[in-house]
């Protein structure tokens, strides 16, 4: 287990995809997803996340570069690798004229290594796991978007998997459904399954992921443990005081940058780690400033993201 944690479950080297129109969708991607992690794959729409996932799953041939999944090259080793990988790519796709159960049977039949003798039981378990057992006999076309999403997840869980690739798994789910799916992801991760989770919901990544990578315009901007990424962008120092102007002056004297005033709130870039925050507070009080509250607001992944991409979370142009 500890050994496996050091070996990347997904590794790409210079992975590049240029579509026939000349559009560069993914540009020299070097991704390393550690075994046992819940890996968040972040990026605005159009940043190349889905193209990357399709290359990892052998659906698209890379223009150059290599990708390996579970230590084997893709797409060459697709036949041995993919049975151990469950995937939800760009939303669920179902046969509307088949029941939920028959949809799963169909996808399981497609896997030549799936044992037909255990098929019924495995399909039942997967439906149970995503909370669809009661609606298993209904035609899939009558499913709501959330139910379709769950059925797509069930298809990814038909067999015990070593890697789950989930593209926007909570899309279309209500808040209760989102919580259930996140709990399911944590549960699977606890069983030792590596989860590769793409999402544009930053708080979702923050809640469930141990590691994350950020993409923008086809390039990888950063990757690493979530805690490191958030720490990379320093938080904001926030002081609430009736003597805001004086406080700003004192902070400036102590070399604090990025000071903004807003009524009785003074905000500034958090000082580097070498500065003891308590000393700063003492300096303020010594200067006769009445401090109502003092502290550093932790940087969220969103701050980190904006700092890294230098842009909002919009569609790349």
């Amino acid at each position: 287990m500890t050994e496996a944690g050091t070996v990347p479950v997904i590794e790409t080297r210079g992975l590049t995809k240029r579509y026939r129109g000349g559009q560069l969708a993914v540009d020299g991607l070097d991704l390393a997803v550690p075994g046992g992690s819940v890996f968040g794959f972040l990026g605005p729409n159009g940043s190349g996340k889905t193209t990357t996932i399709r290359m990892l799953m052998g659906l698209i041939d890379p223009t150059s570069g290599t990708a390996s999944v579970l230590g084997r090259p893709m797409p060459d080793a697709a036949r041995t690798v993919l049975p151990q990988v469950g995937a939800l790519i760009e939303g669920p796709a179902l046969y509307g004229f088949l029941s939920g159960r028959d949809n799963l049977v169909r996808f399981d039949c497609a896997d030549p290594t799936a044992d037909p003798r255990t098929r019924g039981a495995r399909v039942g378990d997967a439906l149970e796991r995503v909370g669809l057992a009661a609606a298993a006999g209904k035609k899939a076309r009558a499913y709501s978007l959330g139910m379709k999403q769950r059925l797509g997840l069930a298809a990814a869980l038909l067999r015990p998997r070593r890697l789950l690739v989930l593209d926007e798994p909570t899309n279309g789910l209500d808040p209760q459904g989102m919580r259930e799916i996140r709990a399911l992801i944590r549960e699977l991760a606890a069983e030792g399954t590596t989860v590769f989770l793409s999402s544009h919901l930053l708080d979702e990544i923050e809640q469930v992921c141990t590691h994350a990578a950020v993409m923008a315009r086809g390039r990888l901007i950063t990757q690493g443990p979530v805690a490191d990424l958030a720490a990379g962008s320093l938080g904001r120092l926030a002081v609430t005081t009736p003597d805001a102007a004086d406080a700003a002056r004192v902070l400036k004297e102590h070399g604090i940058t990025g000071i903004t005033l807003d009524g009785d709130r003074v905000r500034a870039d958090a000082p580097a780690g070498t500065v003891e925050l308590a000393d700063l507070n003492a300096a303020l009080v010594h200067g006769g400033i009445r401090v109502r509250s003092f502290g550093v607001e932790r940087a969220s992944l969103e701050d980190a993201f904006v700092a890294l991409t230098g842009e909002g979370f919009d569609v790349a142009g």
Partner: protein, 296 residues
């Protein structure tokens, strides 16, 4: 090192039985046959013999022979239906073979890959992983089985209607000899198989068209369009030079199986031509599908 560590612990990936492709073929077939569209197509095909049978029955109610001017000009075998209901099988197959039957096959073949791509289910089959060659083979095989089912549906419907509306008896072959009803039935089955085999090439063509697009409707329309174009080309006398190479050229050769003894020449030519089409368009479909980026 990493390979050894990450190799599958059990036998989950090593267990590829010799029947590795049968599960997916059965799945293809049941999925195809459970669509309303497929059932509707088969329903239309089954209705053709009923219509022909009733029309002939009404027209000959006054004792006049079937077909305009006592036969010859009408569809093949029509004039003999009143004498023997078994001939409704041959008349019906001759009636559906130029258009209805290949159209149904074109819908199934054209939609086979493109329809799944359009619905997005193709990507889930491929990451299952179905394997591209295996999936394509299963889809082609399922289409061929559909050809046979469709032909048998027409034949069975015609046999039932023929037996209901007309006398059923020993029959006279085209060569003029008489064979027993039992042997006539055997001939009917043989003819149905020959008709189904006539569609092998066209099914491969439809499958190839299906790998070219992500729209099932476009693939179906294109496949049926090719069918109509080829039928027109085959009918233009000035183009007789190319007509022996058109997949529909020998379609009606099945009537030679009603001679005594069998006249195999054109039937075999038909099979050769179908095999050629299957080889050419099957390879083209394979080359296209195995190299294709699945972006839908």
């Amino acid at each position: 090192m990493s390979q050894a560590e990450l190799a599958p612990a059990g036998t989950t990936t090593a267990r590829l039985g010799p029947l590795w492709t049968l599960g997916i073929l059965r799945s293809e077939l049941t999925t195809t046959l459970r669509r309303w569209r497929t059932l509707a197509l088969l329903g239309v095909l089954a209705a053709v013999p009923v219509l022909i049978g009733i029309a002939v029955r009404i027209e000959t109610a006054d004792g006049s022979p079937a077909g305009p001017g006592g036969g010859g000009a009408g569809p093949a075998f029509l004039s003999q239906v009143t004498n023997n209901g078994l001939f409704l099988v041959f008349a019906s197959l001759a009636a559906v073979l130029p258009v209805f039957l290949p159209m149904a096959v074109g819908v199934i073949a054209g939609d086979s890959v493109a329809g799944e791509a359009g619905a997005g289910t193709l990507r889930y089959l491929l990451v299952a992983p179905a394997g591209r060659t295996r999936l394509l083979l299963a889809k082609y095989a399922a289409t061929l089985v559909f050809c046979l089912i469709a032909t048998l549906v027409v034949a069975a419907s015609a046999l039932a209607v023929g037996a209901l509306l007309f006398p059923v008896d020993d029959l006279t072959t085209i060569s003029g000899t008489r064979i027993s009803f039992g042997e006539g039935l055997l001939r009917a089955v043989l003819v149905a198989v020959a008709v189904a085999a006539s569609l092998i090439g066209f099914a491969a063509l439809g499958l190839f068209v299906s790998t070219l697009t992500n729209s099932g409707i476009a693939a179906m329309a294109a496949t049926v369009g090719v069918l109509i174009t080829v039928q027109i080309l085959d009918a233009i006398p000035q183009l007789s030079g190319i007509s022996p190479y058109l997949f529909s050229h020998y379609w009606l050769s099945f009537s030679d199986l009603l001679r005594e003894p069998f006249y195999w020449d054109e039937v075999l030519k038909n099979l050769e031509l179908q095999a050629l089409y299957a080889a050419v368009f099957g390879s083209a479909a394979w080359a296209r599908f195995t190299a294709k980026d699945i972006t839908a």
